[in-house]
Symmetry: C2
Subunit: 235 residues, 2 copies
C-alpha cells in the first residue's frame, strides 16, 4: 500500500515474535495491531526520531541495535541507553520526545504511530502489562548504568561495560561470549561512560596489558580472563 521502504507487517516471520511485547497478544489481537504498524529499516547512523519531535513513532526492534542519547547545549552527546532486539522504543505519554534514537547498526523495526499504540494499550490490557514489565526492566538497566558512572573509576566502568557486552553477545543469557565485536565506536563508549575517547583507548590498552582481554582489529574483543574483568569492574 505504501511505498518508500515501508511495508505491511508479517508477524509470522518476525524474529522476536516470541519475546517482544506483542507476544502477549492473541493472534487476532496481534493481526489487528499489525494492520496499524509498518516495518522499517535503518542504516547505521540513521535516526528514528529526534529530541523534540512531536510525532515520534513507537517501535519494537526486530534486529540490529539502537542508541538513546541526549545532546546538551554545547552539542555533546550523552548515550543514555542501548536498545537490543525485542526492545520497545517510545515515550508513550510525553507530548514530545526527550531524546534522540539512532541506529548503531543496520536495524529492522516495527513502528506504530503513538496514537495507535495508545489505543492498543486501552484495548488490550495484556499489552499494557507487557509494556509495564519492559519499562521496569529499562528502568533497572538505566539505574545500573547510573550506578556505574556514578562512582567507579574509568577502568572499572570499562571493565563492566565489556562484561555486559560479553553477556549480551552470547545466546545463553547466563554465559559470556568469549569473543565479540564492540557495537560502539570509542567515541560512543566514551559518551556512554562519561569519559573521553583517549581515556577509553588508554584503559583498553591497560586491560589488554594485564591480560584481561585481547583487542583484535578496531572492534573485536577476545575475553581472556572474565574473572579478572569482573573483579576490576567491582561487582
Amino acid at each position: 500500500m505504501e511505498g518508500y521502504g515501508i511495508m505491511n507487517l508479517a508477524c509470522s516471520t518476525c524474529p522476536v515474535k516470541e519475546t517482544a511485547a506483542c507476544a502477549v497478544l492473541t493472534p487476532e489481537e496481534r493481526d489487528a495491531m499489525a494492520a496499524a504498524g509498518r516495518t522499517r529499516t535503518l542504516k547505521r547512523g540513521e535516526m528514528l526520531f529526534a529530541a523534540g519531535d512531536e510525532e515520534a513513532a513507537c517501535a519494537t526492534l526486530q534486529s540490529g541495535a539502537l542508541k538513546v542519547s541526549a545532546i546538551d547545549q554545547d552539542g555533546n552527546e550523552q548515550i543514555l541507553a542501548l536498545v537490543h532486539p525485542a526492545g520497545f522504543i517510545g515515550e508513550l505519554f510525553a507530548p514530545f520526545a526527550h531524546h534522540d534514537v539512532v541506529a548503531l547498526t543496520e536495524s529492522r523495526l516495527c513502528t506504530f504511530a503513538k496514537r495507535d499504540i495508545e489505543r492498543a494499550i486501552e484495548d488490550y490490557p495484556a499489552l499494557a502489562r507487557a509494556l509495564l514489565r519492559r519499562s521496569q526492566a529499562d528502568l533497572l538497566a538505566t539505574r545500573n548504568l547510573l550506578e556505574l558512572t556514578g562512582h567507579a573509576s574509568a577502568e572499572a566502568r570499562l571493565a563492566a561495560l565489556l562484561h555486559d557486552f560479553a553477556g549480551a553477545a552470547s545466546e545463553s543469557s547466563c554465559h559470556l561470549a568469549q569473543y565479540f565485536e564492540l557495537p560502539l565506536t570509542r567515541g560512543e563508549i566514551a559518551n556512554m561512560l562519561g569519559l573521553t575517547i583517549e581515556t577509553v583507548s588508554r584503559k583498553l590498552g591497560e586491560l589488554e596489558d594485564m591480560g584481561a582481554i585481547r583487542r583484535e582489529g578496531k572492534r573485536g574483543i577476545a575475553l581472556l580472563d572474565a574473572t579478572m574483568l569482573q573483579d576490576i569492574s567491582g561487582r
Copy 2:
C-alpha cells in the same frame, strides 16, 4: 485489626488520592484495593526494604520523601532516585529487590504485598496503565540524572540539583521556590551526584560567593539568582 504502627486504609483522607496511581480506579475498585493495603510510617533512616529482599512490598508514598540506593561491594552507597509523594515504589516483576529504599524524612506510605498488586494489575487495566505512565516518568527522571552525572562538572551538577529541588519545593510545577530546605545531607547529595562531601561543600560555597544562592543554616537554601543557576547547570 493489626497492631504495630500499621492500620487499615482510609483513602478518603489520603493526601495524594487525586494524583497517585490509584486515582484512576473507580471508588469500588479502590475500596477493594484498600482492603489489601496497609498504611505505614517510617522515620528518617528507616528502611522500607533492602536489596535482595524477596518479599519486598510495593507502596505509594503519601507524604515525606524516600531514596532508592545501591550499595557497591566496598560499602559505598549510590543514590539512584528520590521518591516524592504520589510516587510508586516497588519492582513489580523482579523476584527480589535490586535496591534499598530508605526514608529521608518522616514518611507515610500505603503498602501492598507484591502479589496483591500483581493481582490488581490483572484485574484493573486502568491501574496497569497508570503504573506504566509512572514507570515511564521514573525512567525519564533516571535518565536525566544519568545525563547530569555523565559529563557535567561538579558545579554544574550541583546547580542542576538545586534547580530541581527549587522546582520540587514549589507547589506550582512551573515556578521555582525562592527558599527551600535541602531534603538531603551533604553526604547524600554527594552520593547522588557522584562527588565527595568536601567537593559539595566547597562548590556550595562558591555558588554562594558568586551570588547564585545563600545558605541559611545547614539545610536552608535561598535562591538569589535562578538564571545564574540555570546557566551554570548547563541546561
